[in-house]
Subunit: 285 residues, 2 copies
């Protein structure tokens, strides 16, 4: 596999026709009937969902917390997910981490080497100097949290810094990092705040975005398709514009306890839900 | 064991006479001669350091990244460290995490239940609403990153928000969270910026502080002993004032490749280094 992360994402987006990312975050309470409420049930369901949805998704994003909840046995499931995801499907590990420099180097080994991530999510609070060791090497990519999708995101991210919000300032700074010009870094911007999404896109037209918050969180898909893709630079020229849109519970819930028809075959329900979201999140020309 | 985390920390600080915390962060490159440069060597050295230093420390703080660098086998080492740390010695898991609400609940299970933390470190960027699920239950405690010890911390933390820095604003907000009044939350404030440490302490006189940055990072021990302990409220009345001061490489390095006398017995060198730091970091009356 040649090319950097965004190039591989673009190839995959073009071949599937969608910017959909499968949020592979299985919870014991949401498992379909018949699955054990322990780490074996979590693994069985994750693998079922992966196989069922894979044809319809541009990327796969497990959030590590859902596996770490089972300790080292849970992290071993992530290792087996890594082994099962084909190399042409980008694997984004949602870690939301960052640490001081000497520790960041070990974190890079953990996420990119031990767990085999193609891209990761990181937290900007410690600054670029802390994140840089994670991004050494041409094949590494990180989405830095900018405007998150949770209801309380504005407590810090909405603070005024000069004439803009902290989230917008983070976006502007990340765009100025050297890793931005080498396609090594992008942003996490939630779909739950469409006005902020558009405002942030306006100041960083050339960065890749990972957009969570559709589906269960109720975000706005039209705003995501309008403001999500990069419009400038090398990223803006790629199919999909460097955009990837995560849907987790909106897909996994189709097969879970809370689904409309719990007696339905889970694999069929998951595949159909993924196809539906893929159609709603096309690669625009 | 009765009482909340800060009460247990105070009992331990009083009995050892120190606010020293052992930063249990073993790196392959820093292992003494004779230790394998893999996860078995990391575990052997971590257990050796734990046993040698335990009598001289108030708390133990593994940073998860140093173990996660070995994948699920590394996380299993953390589980065995948990089993080896006596219940009267607070175990702080340095995770620097935070996630949106529904994921935070699983993160809480991962850190407090699966890995058995007494306290954890968290990142404030997503706001209190994202952190709250991690702090449900009377026995949980979190140190929220405020002013970190890395050279580039000021990129975000030093931004002006109104008439103060972002770090100071974070401190002020955390002190206003309901979890602060129930002794459920404190701050991480690095020793590498003594002026900021004193400024932050001045605005939050009643919060517990975890202070990294002494030893290898060159922080100022006098400033830490002066401004580190809480001076007001229930925390200020406890032995140690809710302060815990982390030293990692400054202790582990005494036995490592880079030590002055690599032929010396590692356990002896580690014990002596911990005793030295404990004496420099006393519980003040």
């Amino acid at each position: 596999m040649t090319g950097g992360y965004l190039e591989r994402l673009a190839v995959r987006s073009a071949s599937t026709g969608t910017v959909l990312c499968l949020g592979l975050d299985p919870e014991p309470a949401g498992l379909p009937r018949g699955f054990a409420h322990d780490v074996t049930g979590i693994e069985a369901f994750a693998m079922l969902a992966l196989d069922a949805c894979l044809p319809s998704v541009a990327a796969v994003k497990p959030n590590l917390a859902f596996y770490e909840a089972f300790g080292s046995r849970g992290l071993a499931v992530v290792e087996r997910i890594r082994a099962r995801v084909p190399r042409d499907v980008p694997l984004i590990l949602d870690a939301k981490r960052a640490d001081i420099g000497s520790t960041s180097a070990r974190l890079a080994v953990a996420l990119f080497d031990a767990l085999g991530a193609d891209a990761v999510t990181l937290n900007p609070y410690l600054g670029r100097e802390a994140i840089a060791p994670l991004l050494e090497g041409p094949d590494r990519y990180a989405y830095v949290l900018c405007r998150t999708s949770n209801p309380g995101a504005d407590e810090l991210q909405g603070l005024r810094v000069g004439d803009e919000t902290l989230a917008t300032r983070v976006a502007r700074r990340v765009a100025a990092w050297p890793e931005a010009s080498t396609e090594g870094v992008g942003l996490v911007v939630g779909a739950t705040a469409p006005a902020e999404l558009e405002a942030i896109r306006a100041v960083v037209p050339g960065l890749g975005f990972l957009v969570p918050g559709l589906g269960a969180q109720g975000g706005d898909a039209d705003a995501v398709l309008r403001a999500g893709p990069a419009s400038e630079g090398s990223v803006g020229e790629r199919p999909g514009g460097g955009l990837v849109v995560n849907v987790g519970r909106g897909i996994l819930g189709a097969a879970g306890n809370g689904s409309r028809d719990p007696s339905r075959d889970p694999a069929e329900a998951l595949a159909e839900a993924a196809q539906g979201w893929a159609a709603r999140l096309p690669v625009l020309a």
